[in-house]
Symmetry: C2
Subunit: 283 residues, 2 copies
Amino acid sequence: MTPLDRLRARLADVGAPLCLGVDPHPDQLPDELPRGVGGVESFARGLIEAAAEHVVAVKINVAFFEAWGSAGWAALERVRADVPAALICVLDAKRGDIGSTAERYAAGLFGTLGADAVTLSPYLGEDAIQPFLDYPDRIIYVLARTSNPSAERLQGLDVGGEPLHLATARWVSETWRDGRVGLVVGATAPVEMERLRAAVPGPAFLVPGVGAQAGDLGAAVRSCHGAWAPGIVSVSRGIAGASAGGDWREAAAAAASELRVRMQEVVLDSEASAAHVAPMGGS
Amino acid sequence: MTPLDRLRARLADVGAPLCLGVDPHPDQLPDELPRGVGGVESFARGLIEAAAEHVVAVKINVAFFEAWGSAGWAALERVRADVPAALICVLDAKRGDIGSTAERYAAGLFGTLGADAVTLSPYLGEDAIQPFLDYPDRIIYVLARTSNPSAERLQGLDVGGEPLHLATARWVSETWRDGRVGLVVGATAPVEMERLRAAVPGPAFLVPGVGAQAGDLGAAVRSCHGAWAPGIVSVSRGIAGASAGGDWREAAAAAASELRVRMQEVVLDSEASAAHVAPMGGS
């Protein structure tokens, strides 16, 4: 089974496109864990274990391990190796470099680390993306509209009557037309997200920004599905920050369970509206 | 002495803005070295040792170490630790992420690795850059116009009558107005480089693409100096690929020496023209 097949199968089981975001900051660890790379690793493992039954994917933010140098990368390797095989493992790396260098980043993330999916930056064009597609069954998500406050500085610049993030999304979807190539679209910009979904119906969206970043969960779930592949909605602090006390594992599991239920409701509502609308509209 | 002071002092000694680019691909190692991470480390060390007396900076491409996972990062740490203190160590990482994540990338590259300078991607705006400036004396180079074939896909898009790479460069130079914040401008696009230099006279340029990528050395040297800080011209394969035989160290040293002399000639010619023009123009 390819990662995309596994994602589809897992989505059918879980009933919600919930992705656990793993971004373990040393200042936001549970009280009982040491403030070093060991604590970061324990927290990441504990979160994945706690949330696993409720999620379709795990998105690990590479920076939070890279901060510790080689010791952090060794921890990342161990954490990645123990992600349950049923879940898609996304390494959120946002790499983007010239072709000969992109080939080495792909060797690291897809080869050495064995990621199912990665996030990539579009600023260098095709050269930065193509070497990752040489790993035939893997998934990539190219940044279109990110979730941060200064996202619009470049991404909102007007390019021939549309914002750069839309031009980027259009370029990606026209260049590859492939379920393996999705887009990162932050939930913190619901208007832009809706416009992107309408203009670029093919690619799956990876949607961060729900929870601590205050993005809209319902809008995120409704817009994340593309015509070519299912999308996923990533929640980090909304699960990881559920409790800093001795009950942090149970609290994270409960938060993931609650998010799953809320997402299932949105999915069911969307399916009901679609079923209701279709006969009325005659199509 | 801050890295910028050290760069100025070193430039006065060397007389040429030559930067050694270290991008050790396992397929391009000297014949005598093993095709693994050990060979990559030995090659990187040997190149730095061979070229050191002729260069002002060493630009290490993180991807070529990251490809090997934690073992590669451990090698990177050792290589970086042994870069001679007189040289500026640039970690070419092209990271770019939301603020809380950028803070962790800065902790890794400036904190754990102790880089003097890094390259960063502009796609996420200020949030991706600012955490690196919290390390007061370090240098950052933000991608403006890269040296790869598909650079213009996004960077050439028309934004209000100018290409995106120029809008990016303008934004960077107007936001920080600081010698610590430079731009990456590839030598493979001399026309764009000249236009960028004229429109954005402040920031220093880090210029890759001379040598194997066929960028113009003279144009690169002439345009790399900014009003706020000295720029540098990075050469990778033009030094690393000088010989694959048993004489690779000597060949790399000779290539670096020759590049230094060619750059010194451009610098002297430029100074002579400036000295000649200045009295004529009365300024």
